[in-house]
Symmetry: C2
């Protein structure tokens, strides 16, 4: 069976790290058909649209999408692309790697971020000159779907349960619904949970990241807290992510376009290559996924490494080293 | 002139650290009248109300309020108390102290958190069995008032400007209004600003806290990001805060009731005593405020220290040592 993979490099270093990840996928004995499409600042400059309809349609029909990064237009690109694949959860592992400087080297977390609603539902109004509002939406159905995913996730892998992170002491109805729904799905499935306020989580994860493992949270909380965890493991440069839908999925590094180094061929491809490893797992190629994870880990530990990691390798050097380890 | 100070110890270690801070204030040559009042879980147990009307009225009429902590009822106590003093900004310094273990010892930040609106405005609805909503409110007037405070703040102290932290790439209308309003007030006042997305801030502050100084942000962002900074400086145990209104203000440690050690007389009083130092500054007693800050810093460095800081002193020992240094 051929897997159709949409490849959307986007802007800046997206143009460098996305082809690197495709090279890694091509090195495997798997039948892929890669279809490239445009999105981001550059295509907006040309055509007026950051996300051309054909790119949206491609993501909405491909088996999986690999996305790089977009610049100023990031929100106009990534939010509709998440919708295109109907993704209800954003899986964001944040783990420190041996050999890589980290504020908290013991960090090893998985964020399962709700990916469709919260403040991202985006109903905003300017009621008067003075007053603007945003309607934050939390539904039982989206919370349930996320919780079911989380229960499967912890069962499939070796986890003791998950933490529900929320701010229900202030957002009593909405985050209360989120917390209670996720908790009751977990209870039904015999999955252990604990509940942590998002502000308390921010303090505690800095002090002792090992007290957490899998973290289930609303959309914006997941955005901010996974980026916090990125800080603890040494930056966004190593973090992959998976936007999972019922029938397709989109994989992207958490980092941006890095305009300061774009075009120099020295961007660190690790986050995108690990995102490709998540894509492999999603498509059922677990052995190959593990092999890519291990190859990246080995390369991070022994080099060659790109300048952001203190080395002087190029994107291509590092990619080849990873492929050599497969 | 006598200053009337409402003293609301609340629950748990609030009952220990609040009297300690009052002792410090009493040791100064300033004319205070302290009036104590109840709030929190214990009074709710007795009377059915976490915040009795007389406590609210006292805070609404006193020159300043010193609050300890509340347990389960924290939100029912602190949010109305912030309203009682009409506080529009929550000033939260997060600074590491010499001699105290910190994840990021170079952290020295001031959060100026909008204190009246955002998701805290609290209009929530359960529209259907499935759907709940919360109306997040951002006004130009509240953003302006906060920005004016921030401009005065950076002018009065030795700061180069401030960072505006927001999520306007997603909350375009509401956080857009916040960002643009704060920026334009700063521009009018000749104050330099930069703008940082709140998720990017979370990563960057872990990697290099020194790149930030004064941070101006919406309500929930201020809640979460200041707690993150608390994690970087070693925990909530040392963080004070000031809720400032036009005519009165409320001062509180950022920590909670610490039920695990409550009643043992070993709670660390530093955060509440530093909150009292902020109260002194607010009332115009700058020299005494500085003296208290220095006495706390000296005691943190040389001891005696409470068990949470690795020492074996009691709350009373540490308080006396601070008073001896005045
Ligand atoms: C670009 C932006 C809209 C996006 C988000 O907030 O989800 C980004 O921060 C992310 O986390 O992927
Ligand atoms: C208790 C809670 C309502 C409160 C808040 O969210 O503001 C607390 O976290 C704080 O920061 O003072």
């Amino acid at each position: 069976m051929t897997h159709e993979i949409a490849v959307i490099p986007g802007d800046g270093i997206g143009q460098e790290v996305t082809p690197a990840a495709v090279e890694v996928l091509e090195a495997l004995e798997i039948d892929f058909e890669f279809v490239e499409a445009d999105a981001g600042d550059a295509v907006k400059e040309e055509t007026g649209e950051a996300l051309p309809q054909e790119t949206y349609d491609l993501a909405a029909s491909a088996d999986a999408t690999l996305f790089g990064a977009a610049g100023e237009t990031a929100a106009d690109v990534i939010l509709p692309l998440r919708t295109a694949v109907d993704s209800f959860v954003n899986v964001r592992p944040a783990k420190a790697y041996p050999g890589i400087d980290a504020v908290r080297p013991e960090t090893d977390l998985i964020f399962l971020r709700e990916n469709t609603e919260g403040v991202y539902a985006g109903h905003e109004d300017r009621l008067t000159q003075d007053v603007s509002t945003l309607t934050r939406v939390v539904t039982e159905s989206a919370s349930e779907r996320l919780a079911e995913f989380a229960c499967d996730y912890v069962a499939g892998d070796d986890h003791d349960g998950f933490s529900i992170v929320h701010k229900a002491n202030v957002m009593r109805e909405t985050d209360g619904l989120f917390r209670d729904t996720v908790k009751s799905v977990a209870d039904e499935n015999g999955v252990e949970t604990d509940q942590v306020l998002m502000d308390a989580f921010a303090t505690r994860v800095c002090l002792d990241p090992e007290q957490f493992d899998v973290v289930v949270c609303p959309n914006l909380a997941g955005d901010v807290l996974s980026d916090l965890a990125a800080g603890l493991v040494g930056g966004l440069g190593l973090l992959p992510s998976a936007n999972i839908g019922p029938d397709r999925a989109l994989f992207e590094p958490v980092h941006g376009t890095a305009p300061d180094i774009a075009g120099e061929g020295i961007a660190n491809p690790a986050a995108t290559i690990v995102s490709a490893a998540m894509l492999l797992e999603y498509l059922g190629h677990d052995a190959e996924s593990d092999a890519v994870h291990e190859a990246v880990e080995g390369t991070l530990e022994d080099g060659p490494r790109t300048p952001d990691l203190g080395g002087d390798a190029s994107t291509e050097d590092m990619t080849e080293a990873i492929i050599d380890r497969l």
